[in-house]
Each structure stands twice: as structure tokens, then as C-alpha cells.
């Protein structure tokens, strides 16, 4: 799944640029399957896209069976050939996960780039990470503990890892087996379990 952490999003739009490029061979946020929702005044940015629901309303309401689950990536995909352009799925999705593309005349949505999501690959801060659904909780637990390790270290010098940076995960997280990429230094990288095949770029080191 795409694990999104808005605290880390700088609002740079690279996810939208790369997403639209994969779909269109051209660049424009209006064609992106992921959108960065912006509250400029507060500096709050939330990248948001299809949540790939386990009980996908879009799939259930599609009258022609044009929406299916990809058995490999488990992404919910729209078959553009079958789609009538009736927009029922657009109306049914409670999250805006499916959009209508007037140029194609069909519904369009995130398909997790066939298992190598561009948004997660390019995200410079790790605000978007692609992680195996069943490992997300473990990764988050590790992050939480690595944040705590800072306090623990303060209380018991030398007891835990090599200390935490100000934004939470730091040396301790990196020192944990299998946790490479968790925390601000691991942007775009694997996340818990090191399972992302899309990891390409090094990230910001806060």
C-alpha cells in the first residue's frame, strides 16, 4: 500500500508530475492520479490518492465489470476498453479515489504503477512510501519506538541505539535490522521489511 505521512510532505508536486507522466507521457497535475491537497497558509500538504479498498465500492457499482483487482499488486484497476464513462464509480467512491478523464472519456485511477509506484520512487522526503500492507503496522511500531529511543537514551545513556534526530527516527532506526529506510533518511526507500521494489533514489537526510 501507499503509506502517506503528510508531516513529511513539502508540497513539491513531484508525485503529481511523475504520476501524470507515467499515465500521459506528458506532465500536468490535472492528469495525476495522486493529488497534493494544500493548505498553504498553514503549510499543510496531504498527498491523496486511491486507498485500494478491500471492499471497493467503485468495483461493486461498475455496471460493466470494467473495474477489477490486479491479483499481483492487489491494485484496483480500470479497464479503459470496457469503461462506459458513466462516472458511477466517481460518484460512489467516498474518497475521490476515482477520477473522470474527459479526454479519454473513461474513469482513471491509481493502479500502483503495476507494483512500482512512481510517486513513492520520486518522493524526496519519504512522505509517500510503498510498503507491503501486512508490514505497515510493524514499520510504524518501529518508527514509534525509534522516536521513543531518543527519550530512553536521554534517561539511560548508551542504552538504546545511537540516538534519535529531532524529527524522530535517526540512528536507532537505521541500526535496527530490516528497518533501513524508515525515518527521514530513508525517503523513497524500502520501509519495513525492505520490500519495495521501487526504491531508487536516496532521500533527504534531516
Amino acid at each position: 500500500m501507499l503509506l502517506i505521512n503528510p508531516d513529511k510532505c513539502t508540497g513539491c508536486s513531484l508525485c503529481e508530475a511523475f504520476c501524470s507522466f507515467r499515465a500521459e507521457r506528458a506532465v500536468g497535475p490535472a492528469k495525476s492520479r495522486i493529488s497534493v491537497l494544500r493548505w498553504e497558509e498553514a503549510g499543510v500538504f496531504i498527498p491523496f490518492t486511491c486507498l485500494q479498498c478491500e471492499r471497493p465500492v467503485c468495483l461493486e457499482v461498475c455496471p460493466v465489470g470494467a473495474i477489477k483487482r490486479n491479483p499481483v499488486t492487489r491494485a484496483i484497476e480500470v479497464d479503459g476498453q470496457r469503461c462506459l464513462g458513466c462516472k458511477t464509480c466517481v460518484m460512489a467512491c467516498p474518497f475521490g479515489g476515482v477520477a473522470f478523464d474527459p479526454d479519454r472519456g473513461t474513469a482513471v485511477k491509481c493502479d500502483l504503477c503495476q507494483g512500482r509506484p512512481e510517486c513513492a520512487k520520486i518522493c524526496p522526503t519519504g512522505a509517500i512510501r510503498y510498503i507491503r500492507d501486512d508490514l505497515v503496522a510493524l514499520g510504524k511500531r518501529r518508527e514509534a519506538i525509534s522516536r521513543l529511543s531518543g527519550y530512553l537514551k536521554a534517561a539511560m545513556p548508551g542504552a538504546v541505539g545511537s540516538g534519535a534526530g529531532e524529527s524522530g527516527a535517526g540512528g536507532a532506526a537505521a541500526a535496527m535490522p530490516g528497518a533501513a529506510g524508515v525515518g527521514p533518511a530513508g525517503a523513497g526507500a524500502a520501509g519495513a521489511g525492505g520490500s519495495s521494489p521501487g526504491a531508487a533514489l536516496p532521500g533527504r537526510q534531516d
Binding site: 513539502t10 508536486s13 506532465v27 500536468g28 524526496p124
Partner: protein, 636 residues
């Protein structure tokens, strides 16, 4: 349009008649001049005559993008603004990040060329193909942040990108800037005053289209390569973490941090205004411009004291210098307040800060008194009068009316030997650099076509000595001098190369604070590959060098037609004759002459007059420039 990468058309808007004319982009315009300031100088050169007053309807305000704006390339969000400058009277431009330029491209426009003068205050709203000139009576008088929000609200869309002026632009302050979503500044050269002179409060744009790419796979590869390069660059973490304020302490170390209006090159309380202090006390969040992995901008908050509750952004090295060390001010919250005030009022913080330090020094020297200042006591370190003066400048009240003219004109008005303290080149105030501490920076200031400016050539390689970058870019032969801030050798070459490369970066839509100059990661070959793949024009690095040189020469010719010659290519006396008292720069003046001679030779310009020669201009295919110089008797 046969080339991709571009939107393919631009807009001409005449505010006098209200006529709006879409124009198809000409392929030759792209191949020969790329975009951005390449297009800008062409339009000024052929359409804005020498005798045209910069604040008259005849001047043209140009907002231009380039072929990689709004694409996958890192830092591809920069907008270029060009007009004849009311501050210098010569070629003027300014460049800004944010999201405006990509939005223009998504809306289907490469450039807006705005001329004439509206009968009453208006703003221009562009949504894809729809262009409207709308009444701005209600917006006139409001600050830039209020204006941006009011326009977004009026159109019911927070994603509308706005470029607007504040009170300073309305009141024709000669260094008024244009604020661009989200609170970034087209600061330099007085572009905001040109906008104000046209009764134009804002340009707002919203687009739903895409930027087409000629060779998608090839373009993707070069874009990802540039992202990888930036994110693997050794200084990426520091630039990301601190933004430009990160160099405050460094510049202080090398004596290049102008303090008390260039009396000193270091600030004895630098700790109080350093990046570390800024981050520790005020940091809230990293924020980025379009497609930027660096996110050098931050949101800052003041949590206690007089300015508690202030939340703001866009604090730069320059503003910390301009309203901090320059007036001997170590109160960081007051610097943030002044920074925010300048942005709201729509003032170039660099020029405004230099006007403040000029006034403070005149006060110290007894050249001006409370009688001149309307009772303000401009004692070094006192920031309250600085905040007051910023408002007085923007509204042209009292002494502010004199400072609103910039230091050159203000010194003419004040007289009494004040011109010695007016730190400018060709009328543009000098930013927080000192050619005595970094010799190449002195040269950069005098050869910049928009008057004093560190960003035209942007010599970063020898700032604090980056031998690895110097080796990577120029090869072993130029070391060790190339990386030595006090060496004069090779600096003519460094500056010429920087100016030509900078002209291409500013014409393509890329960022000089990103991969190209600050990180010295992206250079000619990468730019050529990116532009070629995006557009389908096959341009090699050599072709881009030639475009850069053509742009720089045409800007120079335009300036020569406006009376500029070698005599103007100089620094304030202080930097040439008063040895720096500070740290690594101690004992040095800026040794301009040998560098300048080297520079003219490399440029192929006449060393006596500083005019581009017939031979050089013909070589660059600038026949019309030749003809016009010849008509003025300025061709050799």
C-alpha cells in the same frame, strides 16, 4: 508548434485598449532564444525604445517560462520577469520559484507580454484559454498576502496562482517587487513598480492541461539522473536542512557578510542570527517549490516576545543580511518581522535593506539628522525605526519617499557626500556579498546586466572553496586559483561562464539555487540533454553556450544603447579602496581591474569602452544589434 516542452503559444495583453491577443510561438524563437530572459531581452530590444520611461505605458512587463518549466526536471518551477528597470533605467529582470510558471504552462501559455496602462486598477485572470481583465478597485491598497487570498476566494479555487504587487508597487517604489504564490518574490529590478505603473494589481493563472514531452523515455532518464545527482550531492542535506540561511555563519567566517553597510564583513553577534539559531527557535516545516527535492524554504514561527504568533516563510540569507547584520541588528524575531513586512508590502528586501543600511550610516556620520528622518533615530542595531522605515518607503511617506528612489537617487537628493555610502552598481543595490572577501563576486556585481547582482554569474565555486566542484566543472588546469576566493586569476572566465550558463538556466525555467549553481551538480551537458529530450530540438552543450552568450550580449547591447559603458562597470569606492577589516578577507580590497580585463577579452568586447565588438556580434548572428550600435557610433 513543432517543438514539445513548450505550451506553444503566448499572450499579448494591452491594458490601454483591453485587447488580448494569443500568439503562436515561433519555432525560431525557441531554437535561438530558448525562453525566459532570452525572449525577454528580444522583446525589450525590438519593442521598448531607449527613450521609453520604464514607468510609462510603453514599457513592457514580460512574464516568461521556459521549455522545462512544469516538467519532471528538478527545480523546474522558476518564472522569469523582464522589463526595463525603473531602478536602473537599463535592462531589468527578476526570477522566482513557486508554482506560477508551471501553472502558466498547464494553462497553455509560455509567456505573457503586458503593455499599456489600464484606466483604473485591474487584474488579469487566465484560466486555460479564458483571459479576462477584471476590476481590482477593491484590491488596490491591500497587501500581497491579502490580495492573493482575495483572488483565490473570488474564483473559488485555492489552486489559482497569483503574481501581485503590494502598496510598494502601487506607489511606484523603484525597487518594488512582485509576490508570487506561495509568497515568493520577484524581488529585484523594480518589476513591481512597472506593474504598478500599468495599474495592474495582479496576474492570476489556473491551468488544467499538460506539458507535452518530445522524447518521454529519454527525458525521464535525464530527469531521474538529475534528481539522483542532487540527492546524492554532498551538500544536499545541509541546503535542504537550512536553506540559504545556512551560509550566514560561513560567510561571516570568510568576511563576506556585509555588516553596518559594508563597514565590516563579519558580524560580532552572528550566532544570534545564524541558521542554527533560526532553526532551533523558529523552524516549523520544510516547504518546496514545484518539483524541488531540496525544499530550501521553511515555515517559521515566532513563539514568544513582541512578535509571538507571527508565522511566515521565505527567510533567506539575503534578508537576514539585509535587515540583520547590515543594520547591526541581532534580534532574529525582528528580522523575521521585517522579512514578512517587506513581502506583504511588496518590497525587494535586498534593495530595501541596503537603503536602510545607507540611511543608518548617514545617521552615524551625521549627514542626516532627525530633521531629515522625521524624528526617527537610526542608531545601529535599533530595529524599530527599520520596521517603521519599511512602511514609510512603501507608502512614500516623509523620508521614506527619498529612500523609495533607491540609494543612487537618494544620494543625489541628499548630497553632502552621501554618495560614498550608496552601495550600488548601475543603480541596483548590492546584496549581501563583498568583493573584497570573494574577488569573483566583485566582478560579478559589475558585469551583471541588471546592475549589482550576485545571481547573474552566481560564482559559488570559489565562495568558500569547492575544489572538487571546480575540478568537475573546469578541470585541473584551473586549480588552485579557481577555488580560491582571494585569487583573481581565472575569475574572468568563471564569471563569463556563469553568466552564459545562468542565462540559459533562467531561459529554460530551471533554478540557480538548486542543482545548477548552489549544488553545482547540473551543468551544460545535463541541461542540453534535458532541453533536447523535452523539446525535440537537438541542442548540444555548445549550442546552449552560444544561446547563453547571445542572450548576454544582447542584454549588454541594450544597456550600451542606454548609455552604459566601461565607466559604469565598477564598484562603490569603499570596496575598491577600503581594505576589509574582517577575518579571512582582512587587508583585501576588490582587485577589479585585472579580472575585468580578462573578462572583456573573453567576451570579445572592446576593453576601452566595454562595448561588444562587430566581430563578436556577427559571430553570434546579432546583425540587428550591430546595426543599432553602429547607428549610435558605438561599434568597433
Amino acid at each position: 508548434m513543432k517543438y514539445k516542452g513548450y505550451a506553444g503559444k503566448y499572450l499579448r495583453i494591452d491594458l490601454t485598449t483591453g485587447r488580448v491577443q494569443p500568439v503562436e510561438l515561433d519555432a525560431a524563437m525557441c531554437r535561438e532564444w530558448l525562453g525566459g530572459n532570452g525572449w525577454g531581452i528580444n522583446i525589450l530590444f525590438s519593442e521598448v525604445p531607449v527613450e521609453a520611461d520604464p514607468l510609462s505605458p510603453e514599457n513592457k512587463l514580460i512574464l516568461a517560462t521556459g521549455p522545462i518549466n512544469g516538467t519532471l526536471m528538478p527545480n523546474s518551477g522558476r518564472l522569469e520577469c523582464i522589463a526595463k528597470s525603473p531602478l536602473t533605467g537599463i535592462y531589468g529582470d527578476s526570477n522566482v520559484g513557486g508554482f506560477f510558471a508551471p501553472e502558466m504552462k498547464f494553462a497553455g501559455w509560455d509567456m505573457f507580454v503586458i503593455e499599456g496602462r489600464a484606466a483604473h486598477p485591474v487584474y488579469i485572470y487566465i484560466e486555460d484559454d479564458r483571459v479576462e481583465i477584471l476590476d481590482a478597485s477593491d484590491l488596490w491598497g491591500r497587501d500581497t498576502i491579502e490580495t492573493e487570498r482575495a483572488i483565490q476566494k473570488a474564483h473559488g479555487d485555492e489552486a489559482v496562482k497569483v503574481a501581485c504587487i503590494g502598496p510598494a508597487g502601487e506607489n511606484l517604489v523603484r525597487y518594488a517587487g512582485i509576490q508570487v504564490t506561495p509568497q515568493r518574490s520577484l524581488g529585484r529590478s523594480g518589476m513591481g513598480a512597472v506593474m504598478g505603473s500599468k495599474n495592474l494589481k495582479a496576474v492570476a493563472v489556473r491551468g488544467h492541461g499538460v506539458v507535452p514531452i518530445a522524447q518521454p523515455e529519454r527525458f525521464y532518464d535525464i530527469a531521474v539522473k538529475c534528481h539522483e545527482g542532487i540527492r546524492g550531492n554532498p551538500i544536499y542535506p545541509a541546503v535542504s536542512r537550512f536553506g540559504t540561511p545556512g551560509i550566514v555563519a560561513l560567510m561571516d567566517q570568510i568576511g563576506r557578510f556585509p555588516t553596518k553597510n559594508f563597514q565590516l564583513g563579519h558580524f560580532d553577534r552572528v550566532e544570534a542570527i545564524s541558521a542554527e539559531t533560526l532553526r532551533r527557535n523558529h523552524f516549523v516545516k520544510d516547504i518546496a517549490c514545484y518539483a524541488c527535492p531540496i525544499a530550501c524554504d521553511k515555515i517559521y514561527a515566532v513563539r514568544e516576545g513582541e512578535f509571538a504568533g507571527l508565522v511566515m516563510r521565505s527567510v533567506e540569507y539575503e534578508t537576514i543580511g539585509a535587515v540583520g547584520a547590515s543594520i547591526d541588528n541581532d534580534n532574529l524575531p525582528s528580522i523575521l518581522k521585517a522579512n514578512e513586512l517587506a513581502d506583504r508590502l511588496g518590497l525587494d528586501a535586498i534593495s530595501a535593506g541596503r537603503c536602510l543600511s545607507f540611511a543608518y550610516e548617514l545617521w552615524e556620520k551625521g549627514i542626516i539628522t532627525a530633521e531629515d528622518t522625521g524624528g526617527l533615530e537610526l542608531e545601529w542595531g535599533e530595529w524599530r525605526p527599520a520596521l517603521k522605515l519599511l512602511e514609510m518607503i512603501a507608502y512614500r511617506q516623509g523620508f521614506g519617499d527619498i529612500l523609495a528612489e533607491g540609494v543612487r537617487r537618494a544620494a543625489e537628493r541628499i548630497g553632502r557626500g552621501s554618495d560614498y555610502y550608496a552601495m550600488h552598481v548601475k543603480g541596483q543595490e548590492i546584496a549581501a556579498q563583498d568583493g573584497r572577501a570573494q574577488q569573483s563576486m566583485g566582478l560579478a556585481h559589475v558585469t551583471s546586466n541588471r546592475g549589482a547582482d550576485h545571481l547573474k554569474a552566481f560564482p559559488t565555486i570559489d565562495e568558500t572553496g569547492y575544489p572538487d566542484e571546480a575540478r568537475r566543472r573546469y578541470g585541473e588546469a584551473y586549480l588552485p586559483e579557481m577555488a580560491d576566493p582571494q585569487a583573481n586569476k581565472h575569475k574572468g572566465f568563471l564569471i563569463k561562464d556563469g553568466e552564459d550558463f545562468g542565462a540559459v538556466v533562467d531561459s529554460s525555467g530551471n533554478c540557480k539555487s538548486g542543482g545548477t549553481f548552489v549544488l553545482a551538480q547540473i551543468y551544460w551537458d545535463d541541461m542540453a540533454e534535458a532541453i533536447s529530450a523535452a523539446t525535440g530540438m537537438e541542442l548540444a552543450a555548445e549550442d546552449l553556450r552560444r544561446i547563453g552568450e547571445r542572450i548576454y550580449n544582447l542584454q549588454r547591447v541594450y544597456n550600451v544603447l542606454h548609455g552604459i559603458s566601461r565607466k559604469d562597470d565598477t564598484l562603490p569606492k569603499r570596496l575598491l579602496t577600503e581594505p576589509s577589516p574582517s577575518k579571512a578577507a582582512k587587508g583585501n580590497v576588490c582587485r577589479l581591474e585585472p579580472m575585468l580585463e580578462d573578462y572583456y577579452r573573453l567576451r570579445g568586447w572592446d576593453p576601452e569602452t566595454g562595448y561588444p565588438t562587430r566581430e563578436k556580434l556577427m559571430e553570434l548572428g546579432l546583425e540587428e544589434a550591430c546595426r543599432r550600435l553602429e547607428a549610435e557610433g558605438k561599434l568597433r
